[in-house]
Amino acid sequence: MSQTTAVHGEKISLLRVLGPAHVWALGVGIVLVGEYMGWNFAVGKGGMIAALIACWVAGLLYTCVAMIDSEVTSTVAAAGGQYAQAKHIVGPLMAFNVGLYLVFAYTMLEAANAITLGYLVQTVGTMAGFADVHDKPFIVLTIMFLAWLNYRGVYATLTVNLILTAIAFVAILILFAAVKPWSNELLNHQAMLNGLPYGWLGVIASLHFGLWYYLGIEGTCQAAEEVRSPARSLPLGTMTGIMTLLIAATMTWYVCSGLMPWEYLGQAVTPLFDAARLTNSMPLMVLLFVGTVFSTLASANGCINDASRAWFSMGRDRYLPTWFGAVHPKNRTPYRSIVFLVPVALVFAYFAPLDQVITFSILSGLLGYTYMSLNVILFRRKWPLGMIKRGYIHPFHPLPALVLLLLCSVTYFAVFLGYGTQLIAMLIFFVVASLWFHFHRYQYVRRGDQFTMQWPRPVGY
């Protein structure tokens, strides 16, 4: 892929080179790491059965997210994804907040990935018999390398993601086949399952980490300005992505729950790697080690891509200093945003503990989903069907939006159980940031220019 200095009419823009497979890789690539680490904290919060219920309830939540998102994004196709949607449908302050959710969710997820990768290298170093091994150099290297890859160009970045993701997904399939799910030779669910240790309250509590099975799938629409035919590719990539994840999540649960006592699984850092260890098979161990490394890399890679697109879009609209709205003339990437977010990710990966980082990521995502459910209702009201061309129309409106809103409310309560302080701290942050935006920052924003879609005037305005 040659990246030339294309200057049409003294303007440079992002490069439109990606296909549906890249969209799938971006969506699934970010999320698949959730099966390799993190989801199992749901087992700790409510037990095995609760984790399975959480897996499917969260699956329902994300199916709603994917359907709603596909409809809106097939229409509002711009870098920044949900941010650009909010700007057109709800208003500038909402857009500013959505932009921050995206940057937060992805930068924290990127930090979580780097921490996991560093931990894994450290574990392997210790297993190999070295004394005094550190994880920090590998945490830093992960972030630096992926930032550099992103800096160099989007096509190479997401092609790498496609390969990494595909291998990590196949690794889960192979593990599932290798434990012979039809026999009791390795798996023993009867001996391992233990009912609901916390009762039904535990089921709700486990929904908190149940989101982790899928968190980030909505990132597909960040690539909207770089996809060749967004109206077709984005819904296709997103929907196949959510199907892939539902399958992978259920398989992961089935394998792990039949192999490990729930008390162990509930606090494991690398559950699928542990599952492979319990099969006594060296090839499987190597495969799942590679799978874990690849999935963390793919995820962090996609996160840098998405967070920088959101930051870039906000700079371009003057929501943030305009300096961030620059495109690299040769690489055609939002290079300043990429560089700026590197130290932010480093600070969190270096100093903060994993479950806190994950919780902040989940909370940002959750705020985003709450917005989406309200957003789609307004979208249908301001531009009813038939008024503008939609690439995809989701069925049963407004049922998915209401289900999504209900599930979000339950999940807030789940986060509250155990992590109430972070929830409040996060909301205080967003309130302060919103007031700052409304009373200070918004003066630098051009009013009419924010509305860039070729749509008619919204109904009721």
Binding site: V90, G91, P92, L93, M94, N188, A191, M192, P197, Y198, L201, G202, A205, P261, E263, Y264, D274, L278, N280, L320, P321, T322, W323, V344, F348, F351, A352, P353, D355, Q356, T370, Y412, F416, L417, G418, Y419, G420, T421, Q422, L423, I424, A425, L427, F429, F430, V431, V432, A433, S434, W436, H438, R441, Q443, Y444, R446, R447, G448, F451, P458, Y461
Partner: protein, 128 residues
Amino acid sequence: MANSHYEPPKQSAFGQLIDSLFLLVLVIAALFAPLYLKLAGGGKIDIAVADKSTWAGLGQSAVQQAQWEKLGFTPETAASIITSRFDYSFNPTEVVITAVVIIGYFALLFAFSRTEYREVIEERFGRK
């Protein structure tokens, strides 16, 4: 476009820098404040078991015991993991406060966005 067109002031490089730094500090404060104030994380309690030094005493069956051992645990090292439970007792007032904060936050967002959005639409499509 005859109607009121808003021309924003040009922001100086210094102003841009201050704005970026403000956001950066705010982000880091939001994340690290709960950690430093030691308010982060759920409360955990230990449940009582018959005997912490044997697998049977910890309530583990023979099959479970085999898996623990394969993972490299002894009853002593596994005991703290097996007996630890989350403490889900909570105060209803706290739930109500949290709910009010969340709903208030979204109400604020939608209210401010609405006024700003009207301006955007007026400038883009002209006054009605």
